[in-house]
C-alpha cells in the first residue's frame, strides 16, 4: 500500500486514538505531578444524636479560595512517584542501610505496596503468558487434527472461557474453591487438613488466580493459532511426510516457522493483557493476598472515601512504562524483521 493511501486509511483511527487514548494519557500524566493543596482545618463544635464534641473540619472558605486560584492542586513534581506508596526511593535507601542481610532487605522492599503489586503482576505475566501460548497452540494443533464434522462444536466449547465475562468466570471458581465449595471441601478431605483454605493462603490464592488466567486467556491464543494453521501450505508438509519426518519434526520445522509472526502477535497482546490483571482479584476477593498495579489504581480511586487522583495517576503512568519495558524486546525484534524484510 502506498504511504499516502495508508495515511488516509489510518486517519480516522488515528484521530480517534489521539482523542480517546492519547489525550487522556497526557491528562493523567499532568495530574500525576500534582497533589492536593494543604488542607486548612479549623476546630468546630459538632453535634449528632450521640452528643456534642469539638472536632476538626476543613475550612471551606479558605480552601475554596486556594482551589479557585490553582484548580489542579499543588505542584508536586515527582513527589508522588517517589513516595512510600509508589517507588519509595527514600525508604529503600533506608532499608539498604539498616538491614543486615540481602534477604532481609528484599523482605522489607517487597513489603512496600508498589513492589508487592509489581511482583504479583510480573509473576502473573510470566506464568500466564507462556502457558497461554503453549496451551493455545496445543489445542489448535489437536483440533486441527480432528475430523471436520465435530470441529464446530469443539471450537465453540473451547472458546467458551473467553466468552464468559471475567467477573462471572472468577466468581464461579471462587465459590467452588470456598472451604464449603466443591473443590475446597474435597481438597480439605484429600489433604486431611480442615484448616486448608485456598483463599486464605497467599501462595494458593496466587496459584488459583494464575490457573484462572490461563483458563481465561488460552482460547484467544487458540483462535488465532487455529486461524494461522489453516494457512500452512500442504505441499511442504506432504513432502516432509514422504521424507519420513515425524509429527514433531513437521511442527518444529514447518508449522512453527510459518506461524511465527502470529506467535509474536499473540505474545504481545497476552503480555499487555496480563500486565493489567485486575478482574480476577475482585472476583476472587483476593485483595488481601494479591494486589496488581491495576488494582492499586482502582484502590486509590474508589476504595478510599477520599479519592487519591495523584496516586492513581502516578501508578497509571508507571503501568504504561512497565508495559513498554515488557514489550520492548518483542517490539525491537519485530522492527528489525520489518527492516530486513524491506
Amino acid at each position: 500500500m502506498p504511504n499516502k493511501t495508508f495515511f488516509w486509511f489510518f486517519l480516522p483511527t488515528g484521530l480517534a486514538m489521539i482523542l480517546f487514548i492519547g489525550l487522556p494519557i497526557i491528562s493523567t500524566g499532568i495530574q500525576s505531578f500534582y497533589a492536593q493543596h494543604d488542607q486548612v482545618v479549623k476546630e468546630v463544635k459538632k453535634c449528632d444524636p450521640f452528643g456534642c464534641t469539638v472536632s476538626i473540619v476543613v475550612d471551606q472558605e479558605k480552601t475554596s479560595k486556594i482551589r479557585e486560584e490553582k484548580p489542579l492542586g499543588k505542584f508536586n513534581g515527582f513527589g508522588t512517584y517517589v513516595d512510600r506508596n509508589h517507588l519509595a526511593i527514600e525508604e529503600i535507601g533506608k532499608f539498604w542501610n539498616e538491614t543486615n542481610s540481602f534477604g532481609e532487605f528484599v523482605d522489607q522492599v517487597t513489603n512496600l505496596p508498589f513492589y508487592k503489586a509489581l511482583i504479583f503482576t510480573l509473576t502473573y505475566c510470566l506464568f500466564v503468558t507462556p502457558n497461554v501460548l503453549l496451551l493455545g497452540f496445543i489445542i489448535a494443533l489437536s483440533l486441527n487434527a480432528v475430523t471436520r464434522r465435530i470441529r464446530g462444536p469443539l471450537i465453540f466449547g473451547t472458546i467458551l472461557p473467553m466468552i464468559v465475562t471475567p467477573l462471572v468466570g472468577s466468581l464461579v471458581l471462587f465459590w467452588m474453591i470456598d472451604a464449603e465449595g466443591i473443590i475446597g471441601a474435597n481438597l480439605q478431605m484429600l489433604m486431611d487438613d480442615p484448616y486448608l483454605s485456598l483463599k486464605s493462603s497467599k501462595t494458593l490464592t496466587w496459584i488459583t488466580i494464575i490457573i484462572y488466567g490461563i483458563w481465561h486467556h488460552s482460547p484467544f491464543a487458540f483462535v488465532v493459532f487455529y486461524a494461522a494453521l489453516q494457512t500452512v501450505p500442504q505441499e511442504p508438509v506432504e513432502a516432509a511426510i514422504i521424507d519420513g519426518a515425524s509429527r514433531w519434526q513437521r511442527v518444529r520445522h514447518i508449522v512453527l516457522p510459518h506461524i511465527y509472526p502470529v506467535v509474536t502477535f499473540v505474545a504481545l497482546i497476552s503480555l499487555m493483557d496480563n500486565f493489567r490483571v485486575f478482574e480476577p482479584i475482585i472476583g476472587f476477593s483476593a485483595e488481601g493476598s494479591a494486589q496488581s498495579l491495576s488494582w492499586l489504581i482502582y484502590d486509590n480511586l474508589v476504595n478510599e472515601e477520599v479519592i487519591l487522583f495523584g496516586s492513581a495517576a502516578a501508578t497509571s503512568m508507571m503501568t504504561i512504562v512497565g508495559i513498554a519495558i515488557l514489550l520492548a524486546p518483542v517490539l525491537i525484534r519485530t522492527w528489525k524483521e520489518f527492516r530486513t524484510a524491506r
Partner: protein
C-alpha cells in the same frame, strides 16, 4: 454536656412521646428528586416513605452497596446527579471535605416540623444532615449451643474467645466465631472498633499525625488474630453478607455484626430452629475496658450543594416527611433503631440500645479518618496471615497513611 445528651438519646429511644402528630406537608408541586443510598431494608423503607410524599415531583432513587464509590464524583458534577445522599458518620466526611453538601437550617425551619432536635447533625452551628436511624455492631449468639455447653453469654471479647474455644473443643462447630473480616473497609472497621475498645486514639491530639503504633494497637491486632483463628479460614473474603449466610447455615454460634442486619437474620426465611435460637446482646468490651469495642453510627440524609434550590426544597420536603414519620417507625420497628419520634424499641434493637447505655463512642468524624481507614484495610492483612509482626503491620499502616495524607494535604 455529654451526659445530658446521652440522656436525651436514651429518652428518645425508650419512650414513645405523644404530642404533635405533625406530618411534613406533602403538597410538592415541582422539582426533581434523585436519591443515592446504601442498600439495606431500613433505607429502602425510608426512601419508599419519602416517595409516598413526592406529589408531582420527579422521583428517582439509586440503592447501591457501592454508594461510597459513586458519591463524591456524582455530587461534584454541577448540576449534581443526585439531589440527596443518605450518608453516615463516615461518609459525610468526604462530602464535607469537598464542600459538596448544603446547610439545611432554612429548610428545617420551613419544612422540618416533627423532626426532633436530636436528629440534627450540626457542624459549626450549621445543620448539615438529618439523622433518622442509629446503627452499631454487636454480638449475636446461638442460645441453644451456649446453653447445651453451659456457657454464659459473653460480655467481653476474652469471654468470646473462651466460649468459641469451648464450642470448638466440644466438636459441635469447627469455626464457631464470625465477623466481617473481608480485607479492606470491613477489616479496617473491625480494627477501629477493637482499638476504640482498648481506649486508643488514632491521631496525636489536635494533629493529623497517626498514633496507632503503640501497646493498645498491638493488643488490638492480637485480639483480632485470636478471633480470626476461631473463624472460617476464608475470613479475609467474608463481608457482612457472607457471615450472615454462614450464620443461617448453622456454622457459627457467636458473631459480631451490624444491628441493621438483625432484621434479615430474624425473619422467616431460613432454618426456623436457627432463627429461634438466634439472640442479640450488646457489644463486647475488651481488655477490661468500660466502653464497648464498637462504634456508634447514624444514618441520615444530606442535600447536594450543586443542585437547584427548588430541587433541594422538593427533596427536603419528601425526605423530611419520612424523617418524622411515626407510621413508618411503627410499621418498620423491626428494621432499625429509628431516631424518629414515636419509636418503640423492640427485641431487635437491643444491640444499639445496650451500646448507647454502655457509652459506646461514635465513629470518629475527622477529615483524615477515611485515609487511616483505607490504610488499615490493606496493611494489617499480612499480620493476620502470620507473615508479619504486629509492630511491623502498625508501622506499615502509619507509613501508608502518611504518604496518602501528604498527598491530600493533611500533613
Amino acid at each position: 454536656m455529654r451526659e445530658t445528651n446521652m440522656k436525651k438519646i436514651l429518652i428518645s429511644l425508650f419512650f414513645l412521646l405523644f404530642g404533635t402528630s405533625a406530618y411534613a406537608d406533602c403538597n410538592i408541586k415541582s422539582g426533581s428528586i434523585n436519591i443515592l443510598a446504601n442498600d439495606f431494608p431500613a433505607l429502602r423503607t425510608f426512601v419508599e416513605t419519602a416517595k409516598g410524599c413526592k406529589g408531582s415531583a420527579d422521583f428517582k432513587v439509586t440503592h447501591s452497596s457501592e454508594h461510597n464509590k459513586i458519591a463524591v464524583p456524582a455530587l461534584t458534577a454541577n448540576p449534581s446527579e443526585f439531589s440527596a445522599r443518605i450518608a453516615a458518620n463516615s461518609s459525610i466526611v468526604p462530602l464535607m471535605n469537598q464542600d459538596l453538601i448544603r446547610p439545611l437550617d432554612d429548610l428545617v425551619k420551613k419544612y422540618g416540623k416533627g423532626i426532633q432536635d436530636s436528629q440534627l447533625i450540626t457542624i459549626d452551628g450549621k445543620i448539615m444532615a438529618v439523622a433518622f436511624m442509629a446503627n452499631t455492631q454487636h454480638l449475636y449468639y446461638r442460645e441453644d449451643v451456649l446453653k447445651e455447653l453451659g456457657i454464659a453469654v459473653p460480655k467481653t471479647y476474652e469471654e468470646v474467645v473462651a466460649a468459641s474455644e469451648k464450642i470448638r473443643a466440644s466438636g459441635k462447630m469447627q469455626y464457631p466465631y464470625a465477623a466481617a473480616y473481608k480485607a479492606g473497609w470491613n477489616l479496617a472497621e473491625e480494627f477501629v472498633n477493637m482499638y476504640i475498645g482498648h481506649g486508643g486514639e488514632f491521631f496525636k491530639a489536635g494533629t493529623a499525625q497517626p498514633s496507632i503504633n503503640n501497646a493498645k494497637g498491638i493488643a488490638t491486632l492480637n485480639m483480632l488474630k485470636k478471633l480470626a483463628g476461631l473463624s472460617n479460614p476464608d475470613y479475609l473474603t467474608h463481608d457482612s453478607e457472607a457471615i450472615k449466610v454462614e450464620w443461617e447455615s448453622g456454622n457459627v454460634a457467636l458473631m459480631t455484626l451490624w444491628a441493621s442486619r438483625s432484621g434479615t437474620l430474624l425473619d422467616d426465611d431460613g432454618d426456623a430452629k436457627i432463627t429461634a435460637a438466634t439472640k442479640l446482646t450488646g457489644p463486647a468490651t475488651v481488655a477490661g475496658g468500660n466502653i464497648p469495642a464498637a462504634t456508634l453510627w447514624w444514618d441520615g440524609f444530606t442535600l447536594a450543594k450543586n443542585r437547584s434550590d427548588s430541587d433541594a426544597e422538593a427533596t427536603f420536603r419528601a425526605l423530611a416527611h419520612a424523617a418524622a414519620n411515626k407510621k413508618m417507625v411503627a410499621d418498620a420497628a423491626d428494621q432499625a433503631v429509628w431516631l424518629i419520634e414515636g419509636f418503640k424499641p423492640g427485641p431487635k434493637s437491643i444491640g444499639v440500645i445496650e451500646a448507647v447505655k454502655m457509652k459506646a463512642k461514635p465513629y470518629p468524624m475527622l477529615p483524615q479518618m477515611g485515609l487511616m481507614h483505607g490504610a488499615l484495610g490493606s496493611e494489617i492483612v499480612e499480620f493476620l496471615q502470620g507473615k508479619e509482626s504486629a509492630e511491623q503491620a502498625l508501622k506499615d499502616v502509619e507509613a501508608a497513611y502518611m504518604s496518602k495524607a501528604k498527598e491530600q494535604g493533611f500533613l
